[in-house]
C-alpha cells in the first residue's frame, strides 16, 4: 500500500512536470505574415518543430490547412486566394501540442504580371535605392524575376554594371559583354507557371583602387505574355546605386553600438538575469528529466538555443544599409570558436556561427538577435568571449567588430543539495542534543563516558595529530593522492578505535559521543571549528549510528550480545560492512560540501576512487581490526 502511494505520487509529479511549458515556449509567436500572389508567408519569432498550419476567415471557417509533419522551421507558406482588406486568422500547431495564432488584415492585391528586382548587394530592401560598399569588397548581387501570371511568360533580362567593377562570378545563363558603358549581362528565360522565377546570383569586386563615388547598376526585364492569341509586352526597369567608400569611412559610418546578453528572442534584456552571464539550464523540469533518464542533452542542444545575444547596429549614413551580423562565442585563449558553442550543423548552413541580416535605416539603429547554442555535454563553466561582427550584406569586409567577456555558469544542483542535506542533519542533530540531552545521556554510566573520553584522547594522539602533520607534507608530494597514505590514519586507525569502543559499549550514541569529543578536541586544540568539518562530522555520525543500528551492531540484544567463537566472523563482517557503507556515503557528502562551499573541482573518477579505497576498503579494514581489538579489550573490562 505504501509502495503504491509512493508510485502514485511519483506518477503525479512526473505528470505535473511533463505538462510544464518549456521556458522558451512562452516567447514563441507569429512575427509577421506577408501576403503574396495567392499565398501568405508566416514567419515565427524563432525556429520550432511545426506540425500543421491553418488559416481561417473572419467567420471562423477553415480556408486551408497544411500538415507539415514535424519539421523544425521558422517559416511556413500557405497557398490560398485571399481577398483585399479582410481579417484572416493564422494558426500554427506545434509538435508538442501547443498552438499559436495571430489575426492579420490582408493588404491590397498586387496587379503586375511579374515582379522584377535587383538586390546589390544581396539582401537590400526593394525600396532602397542606394547602398554602401567598402572598397576592396567582394559584392554578391541578385537578379530576381517572378511570374504572377497563369500564362507562360517569355522573358529577357539585361543588367549593366559599371566597367570599374570586376566580375568575379557570373552564372552561365548570362552572356557577358564589355562595352564603354560597362559590363552588359543578358539572359533569356521562360517562366512557365505562376511563381516560376528567374533568380541568379552574381559576384563582383569593388577594387580598392576605385575612386570614392556613386556607381549605378541598371537592370531591365522584358516580359512577353500571350493572352487569347495577343502578345502583351511588359517592361520593368530598376536602377540601384552603390556608393563606394573607403573601409575607414565605412567603419565610421556604421558600427556596433552594443551587445546585450542574455536577451529574449526579441532582443529584450531580462533584468532578472545577470548581464553577460549564461546560466546553463538545469531547471526543475530538466533536472527531473535527467533523473528519470528521459532528458536528452543532444536534442536540447540541436533544437533549443540556451539564450540570445542582441547586437545593436548603428548606421550613421543617410541611406538604408543592409548588414550581415554574425555572432560567435570564442575561446579567450585560442580566439577560435569554442567547440561547445558551435551552432549545430543543421543550423546557419553549417557555418558554426549565428548570423542574421538586418536592414538599418539611415541615421538610426537596429537590433539583430542571434541565438547562442550550447552543447551542455561538452561545455565547461568559466570565461568566454562573445564576438559580434557586421559586414555590409553581400560584401566580405567586416566593418565593425565588438567583443564582450561572458561568464558561463554551470548549475549542478547535486553538491548544493548534498550541502543542504548535511546542513539539515547538523541542525537537527544539534537541536536534538540541545533539547533532549537528558534523555540522550540517561543510559550512559560515568565509567562509559570516561572510557569514551579516553578513547577520544587516543584518537586525537593517534589520528588527528599525525594526520594533520602528515596530510600537509604528503599533499606536497602526492597532491590529491595523499589519501592513500593518510587514509591509514583517518580511516583504518580511526575505525579501529571507533569499533573497539563500540564493541566495549554496544549501544546507540557511543559513536556520537566519540566523534563529538574528537571534534571538540580538534577545535579546542587545533582550531578546527569550520562549519564544513562540523557538517561532515554530523553526517558521518548520523550515517554510522544509522548503519550500526540497522545492522544490529548497537541494537539492544544485537549481534554484540553473547558472542561465541562461531559468531565472531559474522560480527566482524557485519560491523565492517556497516562502517564501510556509512563512510563511503560520508565521502560523497564531504566532496559535495567541499565542492559547493569551497568552489573546488574534483573529477568524478577521483571521487569514486576515493570513495572505494578510502571510504570502503580502508574503513572495512579499520572496522575489522577494531572489532577484533574490542574483543580483546572486553576481557579487561570483564
Amino acid at each position: 500500500m505504501r509502495k503504491l502511494k509512493i508510485i502514485l505520487i511519483l506518477v503525479l509529479v512526473v505528470f505535473l512536470f511533463s505538462g510544464c511549458q518549456g521556458k522558451g515556449e512562452k516567447d514563441l509567436k507569429i512575427k509577421t505574415v506577408e501576403f503574396g500572389h495567392h499565398r501568405a508567408v508566416i514567419e515565427l519569432s524563432r525556429e520550432t518543430p511545426i506540425s500543421s498550419v491553418s488559416v481561417f476567415d473572419q467567420d471562423g471557417s477553415l480556408i486551408t490547412t497544411v500538415t507539415i509533419g514535424s519539421e523544425v522551421s521558422k517559416q511556413a507558406i500557405l497557398f490560398f486566394d485571399w481577398e483585399e482588406a479582410r481579417p484572416y486568422l493564422f494558426q500554427i500547431n506545434l509538435k508538442n501540442g501547443n498552438m499559436i495564432e495571430k489575426e492579420v488584415k490582408s493588404p491590397a492585391k498586387p496587379t503586375s504580371v511579374a515582379k522584377f528586382c535587383i538586390q546589390a548587394p544581396y539582401g537590400m530592401r526593394e525600396s532602397d535605392e542606394r547602398s554602401l560598399v567598402a572598397k576592396g569588397s567582394k559584392v554578391t548581387a541578385t537578379v530576381f524575376l517572378e511570374s504572377y501570371s497563369g500564362n507562360p511568360l517569355q522573358a529577357s533580362v539585361k543588367l549593366t554594371l559599371p566597367k570599374e567593377f570586376k566580375l568575379v562570378r557570373t552564372p552561365s545563363i548570362f552572356k557577358a559583354k564589355e562595352t564603354r558603358e560597362g559590363h552588359i549581362l543578358t539572359a533569356e528565360c521562360k517562366l512557365v507557371t505562376e511563381f516560376d522565377n528567374f533568380n541568379e546570383l552574381l559576384e563582383f569586386e569593388v577594387l580598392s583602387t576605385l575612386a570614392e563615388d556613386i556607381y549605378k547598376i541598371e537592370g531591365e526585364a522584358t516580359v512577353e505574355e500571350i493572352i487569347n492569341g495577343e502578345r502583351k509586352v511588359t517592361q520593368f526597369q530598376k536602377e540601384k546605386e552603390l556608393r563606394v567608400i573607403s573601409l575607414k569611412e565605412a567603419k565610421n559610418l556604421a558600427h556596433i553600438a552594443g551587445i546585450k546578453v542574455p536577451t529574449n528572442d526579441e532582443g529584450d534584456f531580462d533584468s532578472r538575469k545577470k548581464e553577460n552571464t549564461l546560466a546553463l539550464s538545469v531547471d526543475g523540469n530538466n533536472f527531473l528529466k535527467r533523473i528519470l533518464g528521459t532528458g536528452n542533452k543532444e536534442i536540447d542542444y540541436l533544437e533549443h538555443p540556451l539564450a540570445f545575444a542582441t547586437t545593436t547596429v548603428r548606421n550613421e549614413n543617410q541611406d538604408n544599409v543592409v548588414f550581415l551580423v554574425t555572432s560567435k562565442v570564442l575561446d579567450p585563449k585560442t580566439k577560435k570558436i569554442a567547440q561547445a558553442f558551435r551552432v549545430p550543423p543543421n543550423k546557419s548552413g553549417g557555418t558554426g556561427v549565428s548570423y542574421a541580416v538586418v536592414s538599418v535605416p539611415g541615421k538610426s539603429e537596429a537590433k539583430a538577435t542571434l541565438p547562442i547554442y550550447v552543447n551542455e555535454a561538452e561545455v565547461l563553466g568559466g570565461k568566454y568571449i562573445l564576438e559580434s561582427e557586421i559586414k555590409i550584406f553581400g560584401t566580405d569586409k567586416a566593418i565593425s567588430k565588438k567583443q564582450k567577456e561572458i561568464d558561463v555558469i554551470t548549475r549542478n544542483p547535486v553538491p548544493g543539495l548534498i550541502t543542504l542535506a548535511a546542513f539539515l542533519i547538523t541542525v537537527i542533530g544539534l537541536g536534538y542534543l540541545a533539547i533532549c540531552q537528558k534523555a540522550f545521556f540517561k543510559g550512559f554510566k560515568t565509567k562509559w563516558l570516561v572510557i569514551i573520553a579516553l578513547f577520544g584522547t587516543a584518537t586525537f594522539i593517534t589520528v588527528n595529530v599525525p594526520g594533520t602533520l602528515l596530510w600537509d607534507f604528503l599533499h606536497v608530494i602526492l597532491g590529491p593522492f595523499s589519501f592513500l597514505i593518510t587514509g591509514i590514519f583517518y580511516e583504518i586507525i580511526l575505525y579501529a578505535l571507533i569499533m573497539s569502543l563500540v564493541v566495549l559499549i554496544p549501544r546507540p550514541g557511543v559513536v556520537t559521543l566519540a566523534l563529538g569529543v574528537s571534534f571538540l578536541l580538534g577545535g579546542v586544540v587545533l582550531g578546527n571549528f569550520s562549519p564544513v568539518t562540523l557538517m561532515w562530522k554530523a553526517s558521518l555520525i548520523f550515517l554510522l549510528e544509522t548503519t550500526l543500528y540497522l545492522f544490529g551492531v548497537t541494537r539492544k540484544n544485537g549481534i554484540l550480545t553473547d558472542i561465541g567463537a562461531e559468531k565472531r566472523w559474522r560480527v566482524l563482517a557485519t560491523a565492517g560492512i556497516a562502517c564501510a557503507l556509512a563512510d563511503t556515503l560520508s565521502v560523497y557528502i564531504n566532496f559535495g560540501t567541499t565542492i559547493f562551499l569551497y568552489r573546488l573541482y574534483y573529477a568524478t573518477w577521483y571521487i569514486h576512487t576515493y570513495a572505494v579505497i578510502d571510504g570502503f576498503l580502508y574503513t572495512l579494514v579499520g572496522a575489522l581490526v577494531g572489532t577484533r581489538l574490542g574483543f580483546s579489550l572486553r576481557k579487561i573490562i570483564e
Binding site: I461, T462, L469, W471, V524, V525, G527
Partner: protein, 297 residues
C-alpha cells in the same frame, strides 16, 4: 621538525587578542568561517586572510608557533593548488603538463587523461585563502586561550556539559597518553619496528600492536577515574560553577556584534545573489545588492 607540544599548547601573553573572551573568539571564528565560504572575489578573500594574519601579528605569537603556522599555511595552500591544477574544470584552461594521456591504456580510459592546468594553480591559490584564513584564526584561538577557558566558553554557549566534561577529561590525559604512546613506540622499535616503512600490512600490524596497550591502559584508567568521580558525587546535570568565570567586556560585545552582523549580512547578500544568478528569485529593489555581491563580494 614539528614539535607536538608547540602545536597543542597555548602561549599565554597579555595582548588584546589574548584578553578577548573565549566566547567572542569562538563566535568570531564561526563568523569568519561563514565569511570564508561566502566570499568569492580574490580581493575580498585576500582581505579576510590579511585580517587573520594581522590578528596573528597582534597576538605576538612566539617564533616556533609562527613557523608552524607558516608551514601549515604554505603546505596547505600548495596542496590545494596541486589538486586544483589537476582537476580544474573551468574555462579557459591551459595544459602545461600531461601526467596521463587520454590514450594511455586503462588509466587513460578511466581518467580521460590527467593534465596539469595552469589556471588550476591560480584557482587553487585563491580558494586556498579560505582554508588559510581558517587555519590562522583557528590556531590563533587555540594558541591564545587556555583550553579550559575555551571549554567554559563552549558550555556557556550551551553545548551539553557532558561533552565539555568528556573533552576536558580527554584534554587532561593528552600528555599522559602521549607519553604512553612514545613508550609503546619505543618498545615497538626495540622489537624491530621501522616507522619509515610504508605499507598497508606493516602499518596495520604496527597500529594494532601500538593501539592495544594504549587502549587497554585507557580502559583500566577509566575504571579508576570513574570510581573517583562518582565518589565525589558527580552529577553532569547539576548547575556548574567555574574556577575562573568568564566576563563579557564591552570590546567583546563589539567583536561579537560586528562579527555576527557582518557575516550574516554577507551571507544574506550572497544567498540573494545566488538565487538571482540561478534565476530562482529576483527583485528589482535588490539590484544594488546584486551589484555589490557580483563586484565586491
Amino acid at each position: 621538525m614539528f614539535n607536538t607540544a608547540s602545536l597543542i599548547q597555548p602561549s599565554i601573553k597579555k595582548t588584546f587578542i589574548h584578553r578577548i573572551d573565549p566566547r567572542a573568539k569562538i563566535t568570531f571564528l564561526l563568523c569568519a568561517s561563514i565569511l570564508a565560504v561566502s566570499l568569492d572575489k580574490p580581493k575580498s578573500l585576500f582581505i579576510l586572510f590579511m585580517v587573520a594574519i594581522s590578528s596573528c601579528i597582534f597576538a605576538k605569537l612566539p617564533w616556533d608557533k609562527v613557523g608552524l603556522l607558516a608551514i601549515f599555511v604554505i603546505l596547505g595552500m600548495w596542496g590545494t593548488m596541486f589538486s586544483q591544477a589537476l582537476f580544474y574544470a573551468g574555462h579557459p584552461r591551459t595544459i602545461i603538463f600531461v601526467l596521463i594521456s587520454s590514450k594511455t591504456p586503462i588509466l587513460g580510459a578511466i581518467t580521460d587523461g590527467l593534465y596539469v592546468y595552469r589556471e588550476g594553480f591560480i584557482h587553487g591559490a585563491v580558494q586556498a585563502l579560505r582554508f588559510s584564513s581558517m587555519i590562522c584564526l583557528g590556531l590563533l584561538t587555540c594558541w591564545t586561550t587556555e583550553p579550559r577557558d575555551l571549554l567554559t566558553g563552549l558550555v556557556k554557549l550551551k553545548i551539553p556539559y557532558n561533552f565539555a566534561f568528556m573533552t576536558i577529561t580527554a584534554l587532561r590525559f593528552i600528555p599522559t597518553v602521549l607519553t604512553e604512546t612514545k613508550t609503546v613506540i619505543a618498545v615497538e622499535r626495540l622489537k624491530g619496528f621501522k616507522p619509515t616503512k610504508v605499507g598497508i600490512f606493516s602499518s596495520l600490524k604496527t597500529a594494532v600492536s601500538t593501539l592495544r596497550p594504549i587502549l587497554a591502559n585507557s580502559v583500566r584508567r577509566a575504571s579508576t577515574l570513574a570510581l573517583s568521580i562518582e565518589s565525589r558525587a558527580f552529577n553532569p546535570t547539576a548547575p556548574r560553577s567555574h574556577l575562573r568565570d568568564l566576563r563579557y567586556k564591552f570590546s567583546d560585545f563589539l567583536i561579537t556584534g560586528g562579527a555576527i552582523s557582518g557575516s550574516l549580512a554577507v551571507a544574506t547578500i550572497k544567498i540573494m545573489y545566488l538565487l538571482y544568478i540561478n534565476e530562482i528569485f529576483y527583485s528589482s529593489s535588490l539590484r544594488h545588492i546584486y551589484q555589490l555581491a557580483g563586484k565586491v563580494l
